[in-house]
Amino acid sequence: MITAERSGMTTKIKNSSRVYFHYITISLRSAMQYRVSFFLMVTGRFLVAFNGILGVYFMFSRFGHVKGYTFGEVLLCFSVIQMDFALAECIGGGFAMFSGIVRQGEFDRILLRPRSAVLQVLGSKFRIDRIGLILQALVMFAYGIAVSPVAWTTGRVMTLLFMLVGGTILFISFFWLRAAFTFFTLEGIEAFNILTYGAKEHGKYPIDIYGKKMLQICTYIIPYTLIQYYPLQYLLGRTDRWYYGLYPFGVAGIVLVCCAVWSFGMRHYQSAGS
């Protein structure tokens, strides 16, 4: 009995993965239909993303350091957050664009298919064009590693990986939360931009430069420090507490919350109509 159930579960996952990767293939083929403009878009975004770092560079050239962090260290922090965000926009693009999906009636079509709505939303709007931002984050990251004196150990590399994965999942969750709220109000969701775009923009500096209060808010109310500040301290060698590197796993809680709000929202959509 148990083996039958488990094999049912694994076939389900395999099945869903296959559909998801099929979606990605279609996204890629769609993009390749407009090869030139796609390439220009990607390049454009790649260059545009350096805007943010220019501002930081000029500030550092004037002041030299901020709250004990050097340019290289800030660059490392910035590039990780940037990468998190780019990956989140790429994978979770469906959630980010969800209000459009609902408005154009695409969500009705999604409900007419015998698959999880989340799978379809994420799969159908996989943003392959975000690859420009991912590349830019990589470039910044490489430069940051070169400029900052991090003593790389296995533990630190793992921490970095956890920061990336945890951060990406956190940003996708906030896009998800915003999408879930779209079921209730199409207009008021701009406040969620703080959680996503705001976090990306202000997360470029380690959170402690904003003061102790902000550090507390970002730990207990919205868990940004779990994916940025605490693991970063271990990464930069400012603390010996290796378990800070495991903090990113805490985002699992947010994922559960989002799941609940989304299910509630879907039920509401089905009763309110569009």
Binding site: V19, I26, R29, S30, Q33, P114, Q270, S271
Partner: protein, 280 residues
Amino acid sequence: MITMEHVCKSYRVAKRNAGMIEACKALFRRKVEIIHALSDVSFTIGDGEMVGYIGPNGAGKSSTIKILSGILTPESGSCLVDGRIPWKDRKEHVRQIGVVFGQRSQLWWDVPVIDSFELLKDIYSISPAVYRHNMEELTELLHLQELLRMPTRQLSLGQRMRCEIAASLLHSPKILFLDEPTIGLDAVSKLAVREFILRLNQTHKTTVILTTHDMQDIEALTKRIILIGRGRVLMDGTLEDMRVLAAVHDNDNAAAAQPEQTEESLERIVAALYQQLHIV
């Protein structure tokens, strides 16, 4: 088999008047109006039936279709499709139905039609044998050979509609909902679509529910018509029943009982009926 019993559904809509002062007022308080889309709608449709579902715009047709397909939940009343409640067993239910919206495409826009079909094959978990069989049949009957390699965006409306219909039948659904399938099509395409649907119903015994404003579609395809107006079912019967109903309501024209009038175009009869029943 489809059963709807005493189904009711209303929507809340915000209202705003014109003018600058009203616009500023609306910042603080919004007036909400309740629209009764469906009031006590009941009917039963047996397996393999072809039913035309007609009524003026805003009568409640799309709300009914949405409830039957599981997208919308009614306020009260019950609905069963093949023993399932559409909105409760969503995934199982939609596996057995196909829906074609005349105005919105379900195919992926920039890729060839065949790519869309292959993705649908995965989404519906259609076995390779069934897929191959259905593809052969649909390609032949709907003349899709040259269309399969073309991106959806390059298809004409008639070509796209044939592909849409094929897409919604790949998984061999038992029930097919068609929402304005022939809108905007030229005469040749309309005939092709009608012929295909008739054939589908004859060979596969697919239940077909057709919403349309085109009376020729109704005449060609359906024996049974359900007329809905302002959220209520006003007539459920055959074409003949509808003519009789129109004649009965046509108080002004005493000549309605005369035999020449029975040749009157269906469009005129329906239009007159809408006005007489005060639903338009």
